[in-house]
Amino acid sequence: MQPTRAARGQSRWQTLVTQLVGLIVILGAWWLVTDVLKLYPPYVFPGPKAVWTEISYGLWGTGPQDGKLLSAIGGSLRRVLTGYVIAVLLGVVVGLLMGAWRPLRTTLGAYLTGIQSVPSIAFVPFAILFLGLNERAVLFVVILEGFIPVALAVSGALLNVPPALRVAGRTLGAGSLGLMLRVLLPASVPSILTGLRTAWSFSWRALVGGELLIAGAASLGEQLEIGRNTANVALVLATIIIIGVIGGLFDSLLRAAEGRVRRDYGLEVPQ
């Protein structure tokens, strides 16, 4: 039996309430350990209040030195979105080529899987030497990390298209390009979306790692570094929370898109 719209709304409410209670429990435990029991000195592990102060000054403070977290978020988002878009375009092209041509798949595909296992931060020293101490070095790492999951997802998706669809496409008179663009690619969209979501989290993590080592412009990585350098652990924690929240928000957006497409493709029964 299909659950009604009202029932679905109710279960959504329940999830939200449970998540809210979980958040309150975590904040309470944090507050208890730091501000009440004072198990750690504030310069080692500050309480939620101190971190909230950093967040509020950093995001909507109006003092001459305030709002730095906000400009850091702007800088980081601009950087990651630029890198991500390039990574996705590059990934789709490389993935299509790999899906269409077997020798490329067996060589490049295998290497890409290997490169993917290298932590992004390991590429930063090379990027700095190769491209200089600048934004291009950060973009290089973001693109490298982002394009691999897309390429692998696209080529994998093409291989998983049911042979019947190929045959049907050919029979109806599609050429190689037509088959690729009008049959194989649309059929692979759900798997590609999964790749896009992985690519996002890879790019986002690579970005923060790169920014940490290549300071200069406003960035979340720089805020982490400044917090560390000025013994401001509250700023470090505030930045970590912001990185997590942004990463999570984008992930849930992409997850929602992925879920919708999967339902449209009939891969999931609506609940």
Binding site: S71, A215, G216, N229
Partner: protein, 316 residues
């Protein structure tokens, strides 16, 4: 069930008494820079170890005030030679810091790459400037210089890119044209100058006519309270080291060079070291007024929201 017998209780009492006694080691933090010369000279000549007697000296080298402050916060360092910037930040965040003495004044210069086209502070717009680390003493000074010349760091919407590079690596960064200028502590300024790069901000024009602390000695307040004699002995040794530097600069330069070789693997030309020495003053004096102004510059640079009252942090 565990039973506490008399011997166990006795052992426990003995153990706690032993812990309350003087420390068995003094863990000292310093950097391999000329502005830390009292530390380098004291180590090279065995001054500290002699003063501490049976207590072992455990000297640990750091690259910047950042990592040193972290070690200090984690309770891994008892006494440290450090720039006023990190020390003031540590004090402002409630770390158990006590300012013990001064170590050096001035000794930081603004050097520009010979082909960078920079002639004065105003030309720094659009350029990449290196400092030892973000939030350190030279970074705070640089942001003040930029502010005075109506320039802004890129992260604050301006045009000057401030990038952290360890002073010993600045020579390589200049050679590779990765940076255009740097505000560094000596001897790295003189070393750059020896390669043809230009000093456009001398130790005197950087700030306050050169009357500013570059390195101070801090002690963990808890350690100082538990080990007053050890701290007094160390302070005496530090005073002796500073006196030796001022009395026998040539011997002191050799001692510094030996320690630099140990720390960085490079020895400097004695003439370079001599020039760097001329731009640095060694003193045990702690200038509270200058430190207080530094704390205000720290606020101006955006590294703190208020300047702490430093007087209570200075050892009486």
């Amino acid at each position: 069930m565990t039973r506490f017998t008399l011997p166990t209780l006795l052992t426990l009492t003995l153990l706690t008494t032993a812990a309350a006694q003087d420390a068995q080691t003094v863990r000292l933090g310093f950097f391999p820079n000329l502005t830390h010369a009292p530390a380098l000279v004291g180590l090279e000549r065995g001054t500290f170890q002699k003063a501490l007697g049976k207590v072992k000296l455990d000297a640990r080298e750091f690259v910047s005030g950042t990592t040193l402050t972290e070690a200090f916060a984690a309770g891994q360092i008892d006494i440290a030679y450090v720039g006023p910037g990190p020390a003031i930040n540590a004090a402002g965040r409630g770390m158990p810091v006590q300012f013990l003495a001064g170590a050096s004044e001035a000794g930081a210069v603004l050097v520009v790459r010979k082909d960078s086209g920079i002639k004065s502070y105003k030309d720094l717009g659009g350029k990449i400037v290196a400092v030892p680390s973000l939030g350190n003493t030279q970074d705070i000074s640089l942001r003040h210089i930029l502010n005075e010349n109506n320039l802004k760091p890129k992260a604050d919407g301006g045009t000057v890119t401030i990038t952290p590079i360890a002073p010993a690596d600045v020579l390589a960064a200049f050679a590779a044209k990765r940076v255009d200028a740097t505000l560094v502590p000596e001897p790295w300024g003189a070393a750059l100058e020896a390669q043809g790069h230009k000093v456009i901000g001398s130790e005197k024009t950087v700030w306050r006519d050169g009357k500013y602390p570059t390195t101070v000695v801090i002690v963990n307040a808890k350690f100082a309270q538990a080990n007053p004699q050890l701290v007094a002995a160390f302070l005496k040794a530090h005073t002796d080291a500073v006196a030796f530097i001022n009395k026998s600069p040539v011997a002191a330069q050799t001692a510094v060079n030996n320690q630099l070789l140990k720390a960085t693997g490079t020895k400097l030309d004695p003439r370079v070291l001599q020039r760097a020495f001329a731009r640095t003053r060694f003193t045990t004096n702690l200038d509270l007024a200058a430190l207080t102004e530094y704390a205000k510059l720290n606020v101006e640079a955006g590294y703190a929201r208020s300047a702490p009252d430093l007087a209570p942090f200075i050892r009486k």
